[in-house]
């Protein structure tokens, strides 16, 4: 009798251990959490629209700027001259136009035995050509004025200047980026989840976020799940044949899919920089309440059912909209 009880007790305990072991494996392997998440932000690169050397540099590294603040000024002597030249050309064309117009007016009123029809037609067309020339000169003047205006480079957004390498006296070329600005309040998190965990993530799920440096929990919610990552099997070689990878019979590594998470609440004292490492855990509690399958229609949860927080960066909301077909 005693032996039976002993065997029974041990076997029951072993059975419980197996069941709990399976749960533990599922929990650890499939709970949607990841340590591979990065803080991201909207970065605006600033490039001058005109070339020239930098006359005044008002921005400094990590400076907080408002939209419209002057960052630097490109030397505008040449652009002033260009405006004066365009003005002179305009005046010139204006007078030519008047001249040919008067000519035409006079010839129009001459009788047909004083002037041939052909000469009159030529005078009319000459007046038209002069008018077009004047309009062209006007457009060139407008363009020169825009160039002059844009020799003063201003910040298009509120934010902080990042990695300012520009120095006063440097020569800058049109369209070459000189500095970048991290837009204020545009921070969001991109978490790279293994594809095995993607099924348990839905748009709108709440998320807990921790930065690598700091124990304070931030709250967020999923705004979009990436729709594509690169596939190395499709890269062509020199003969345009696809470079298909060898088969890995036993070991296949799961890919990771980027999931964008808006930050709803940033506790005091948490300093965010674009590029910081974060840990993310998706709380799928509410989905368990909804039902077993947890299937939700596509595009739901653009934030519609979430209480909107004014702190949610609009850029992230925008990307969520873009993501939905």
């Amino acid at each position: 009798m005693r032996t039976i009880i002993r065997v029974f007790v041990t076997l029951v305990l072993a059975a419980i251990a197996i069941a709990l072991g399976v749960w533990l494996w599922q929990y650890y392997m499939y709970t949607p959490w990841t340590r591979d998440a990065r803080v991201r932000a909207d970065i605006v690169t600033i490039a001058p629209d005109v070339s020239g050397w930098v006359m005044d540099l008002d921005a400094h590294d990590n400076q907080q700027v408002k939209a419209g603040d002057v960052l630097f000024t490109v030397n505008h002597k040449r652009y002033e001259a260009a405006v004066r030249q365009a003005e002179a050309t305009l005046a010139n064309r204006q007078y030519s136009f008047q001249l040919s117009e008067h000519e035409y007016e006079r010839r129009r009123n001459l009788g047909s035995n004083a002037i041939s029809t052909e000469d009159r037609e030529t005078a009319r067309l000459n007046a038209q050509i002069a008018k077009a020339q004047r309009d062209l000169a006007q457009a060139q003047l407008d363009s020169a004025k825009i160039d002059l205006e844009r020799s003063v480079v201003t910040s298009p957004v509120d934010g902080s200047v990042i990695n300012l390498q520009l120095r006063q006296g440097n020569y800058v070329s049109q369209g070459s980026a000189q500095m970048s600005i991290v837009r204020d309040g545009s921070f969001y998190i991109t978490a790279y989840f293994e594809e095995t965990k993607i099924p348990s993530i839905d748009i709108g799920d709440s998320a807990s976020l921790w930065l690598m440096g700091g124990d304070q929990e931030m709250k967020g919610h999923v705004v979009s799940i990436g729709r594509g990552i690169a596939n190395t099997n499709t890269t062509p070689d020199g003969q345009l044949l696809p470079q298909v990878q060898q088969t890995f019979t036993w070991v296949r590594l799961s890919q990771r899919i980027p999931v964008d998470i808006a930050i709803d609440h940033i506790p005091d004292g948490v300093y965010l920089s674009s590029g910081m490492t974060a840990s993310v855990r998706i709380n799928d509690q509410h989905r368990k309440d909804e039902g077993v399958d947890g299937v939700r229609p596509q595009g739901m949860g653009n934030g519609g059912e979430q209480a909107r927080d004014p702190d949610i960066p609009p850029a992230v909301t925008d990307s969520a909209k873009r993501q939905t077909p």
Binding site: V9, L24, Y28, S279
Partner: protein
């Protein structure tokens, strides 16, 4: 505490390591207590029992750390 990595001097380790260590200590204590109380005579295969006890404690520790703390 939930599932998240632990930082020890800038080195980041899996939370499972901590759970395992805690569970080892707890199951060792439980084992000692059972010895003292003479409950081991109800155990048939001690090795099976020990492993099962450890797995159960580990699952409980993991569950508590995620859902209670």
């Amino acid at each position: 505490m939930l599932l998240r990595e632990l930082s020890i001097g800038g080195v980041f380790i899996s939370p499972m390591l901590l759970f395992t260590l805690v569970s080892l200590v707890i199951s060792a204590l439980l084992r000692t207590m059972m010895h003292k109380a003479g409950l081991t005579r109800w155990v048939w295969q001690e090795a099976w029992f020990d492993v099962s006890l450890f797995v159960i404690v580990l699952a409980v520790v993991t569950y508590l750390s995620s859902h209670v703390l």
